[in-house]
């Protein structure tokens, strides 16, 4: 239990640090079992892109780079970015998001001692390959994609979904 307490102490500090920063700054939020439902509720009736990534994923930097560029072109890009790393990686995650011009977005990071459980809540058919994307249409039917989405597919999808 002791390690769990330490873990949550680290995690609480990390959450507090998030809220205590400049009011306009976005948060890196814990992603837990109910988080996908909350994200879907936030985008109720609207299309959005769910992107999963990790610091340990070779291709993810390219994906973030592309998303950062699209966000610069459209500040209202409906995007939920979730890292499968851990709250302990918060500093490195923030640095990476900032580097790709995504620091102003609310993003999430997996927070569970068994991350596979979170993966399963997102999609039981997903084995953890990254980057992983889900393209939700306005009715929240979704297409899953493993690997880089590519600019062509992403911009076509955005256009088709009114962005």
């Amino acid at each position: 239990m002791k390690r769990l307490l330490v873990l949550w102490a680290v995690f609480a500090t990390f959450c507090l640090a998030g809220t205590a920063s400049v009011a306009a700054a976005a948060e890196l939020r814990p992603f837990s079992a109910g988080s996908l439902a909350a994200i879907q509720a936030h985008f109720a009736g609207k299309p959005f892109i769910l992107t999963l990534w990790s610091l340990e994923c070779h291709h993810c930097a390219k994906e973030l780079q592309l998303l950062g560029r699209l966000v610069r072109e459209n500040r209202n890009l409906p995007l939920a970015i979730v890292s499968t790393d851990s709250p302990a990686d918060a500093q490195a995650l923030r640095a990476a998001l900032k580097r790709h011009g995504l620091a102003q977005l609310d993003t999430w990071v997996f927070a569970d001692a068994v991350p596979e459980r979170l993966r399963y809540t997102i999609d039981p058919a997903w084995h953890g390959e990254l980057p992983r994307s889900y393209l939700y249409d306005a009715t929240h039917r979704r297409e899953a994609h493993s690997g880089l989405l590519g600019e062509a597919r992403l911009t076509a999808w955005l256009k088709q979904n009114g962005n």
Binding site: L7, H58, K62, T84, A113, V114, P115, H127, E129, L148
Partner: protein, 411 residues
């Protein structure tokens, strides 16, 4: 429900456990047990080997040190001996775990990944003991490129007569890191070979370029020398598996799943050679032709001896486990005509360890056996085989390290 099967006896640091009967499953009331890092099974990943006398050897990370212990009597573990005198980041997180091999002359060989404190950067380390594991020579860095970049996913094999082979994935040729990038991955399979029991290694050799970046490699020693197995990239982004004899170098594609993915799955495969020299492979794919984890028999062929233009007939892929339960991370070992495969499943809440045994070199299989469950985070399974026993070592956060024997004679 009582999980009456577990923990026949819990001794110094690990438990020998009987298989779990299917009906006994799902009885987990243990409190949450955190792992050291929230998301990764950090330091859960262990290496294990059986020596010629049937003694069990374990390599695992403890407080930044890699330590080796052994069991002579199927129970009590010896006091761990530190392989690394100084603390270092020994990566033990799933696709990377310490490898250990023990020769008949008592020499003990280990490789592992030393993390360098930034994502994906590491060195391949090697250390050996020539006194039966009582002490270890200072570790060396195997990769002769010393940039702080990706040298990862080591595999180790020995021939017991002084031959030591190590392979790993190496990004030393990667130059462009931009969005457009190169049409090739610029990551390759590299090898280092020793013929004097690991005292000295020859220069690093590039076996193949354009490999997948983040899947574990496999390596086994055959009568024709060490044979490596890894996820290669065919064309721009088809990620299927290849083998190569390190002495001959030619590549042979051994899976035809046609997995087109512009990413690395972080989910590789394994290889073992049996007593006849035939090869046994297990792997994961989400290809267009098949999805899940599979076993395939790869008959020994002239190809492995480097005879140009020869081919061999690959066995039909055999599905392992339940894809609906995320069957994954398979491993294989062989001895004589005995072949043991093991894998892990996940039902959304709990992991389970599975294995099945062939006693006719992979031509037919006994039933898949559910060996144990885990309430919290879990390492991959580590199968071990000798003439008498088929075992699976499984380290899990809540239950600790267990040695799980297969039921035999039920085929």
């Amino acid at each position: 429900m009582i999980l009456r099967t577990l923990l026949c006896c819990t001794l110094a640091g690990f438990a020998w456990a009987a298989p779990v009967r299917a009906a006994d499953h799902a009885a987990h009331r243990q409190p949450a047990a955190p792992v050291k890092s929230v998301t990764k099974s950090a330091a859960l990943a262990v290496g294990a080997a059986l020596d010629a006398r049937g003694h069990l050897w374990l390599a695992r990370v403890d407080k930044g040190r890699l330590k080796v212990s052994r069991s002579e009597d199927s129970g009590m573990l010896s006091d761990p001996v530190a392989v690394t005198a100084e603390s270092e980041i020994v990566v033990a997180d799933g696709e990377n775990w310490p490898k250990i091999a023990v020769a008949d002359n008592g020499s003990v060989h280990l490789t592992w990944l030393q993390g360098l404190g930034k994502p994906m950067a590491g060195h391949i380390r090697y250390a050996r003991s020539t006194d039966g594991g009582r002490s270890f020579a200072p570790p060396v860095i195997v990769n002769d490129d010393r940039q702080e970049i990706s040298h990862r996913f080591d595999s180790l094999a020995i021939d017991g007569k002084g031959g030591v082979a190590i392979v790993w994935l190496d990004a030393r040729e990667r130059k462009d890191r931009g969005v457009k990038g190169s049409p090739e991955t610029q990551v390759g399979l590299y090898a280092a070979l020793s013929s004097d029991g690991g005292a000295r290694f020859g220069p690093n050799r590039k076996i193949a370029g354009h490999s997948c970046q983040c899947c574990r490699t496999g390596l086994t020693w055959t009568a024709d020398g060490p044979v490596a197995f890894w996820r290669h990239v065919y064309g721009r982004n088809i990620r299927d598996f290849s083998i190569a004899n390190l002495k001959e170098g030619a590549l042979r594609r051994v899976t035809d799943d046609d997995w087109l993915i512009e990413a690395c799955p972080h989910h590789g495969g394994g290889i073992a050679a049996d007593g006849q020299g035939d090869l046994h492979i297990v792997w994961f794919t989400q290809g267009s032709r098949r999805q899940g984890i599979f076993y395939r028999r790869v008959p020994q062929g002239d190809f492995l001896r480097g005879v140009a233009g020869t081919d061999f007939a690959l066995g039909e892929p055999v599905r392992l486990g339940d894809p609906a339960r995320q069957a994954g991370h398979p491993a294989v070992v062989a001895q004589g005509a005995r072949v043991l495969v093991s894998w892990r499943e996940f039902d959304g809440q709990h992991f389970s360890a599975w294995a099945m045994l062939s006693t006719d070199a992979g031509r037919s299989w006994g039933p898949a056996q559910r060996l144990a469950d885990a309430a919290q985070a879990a390492d991959y399974t580590v199968p071990l085989i000798d003439a008498r026993r088929a075992l699976v070592v499984w380290n899990t956060a809540a239950e600790g390290l267990r040695v799980l024997p297969l039921r035999e004679g039920t085929q």
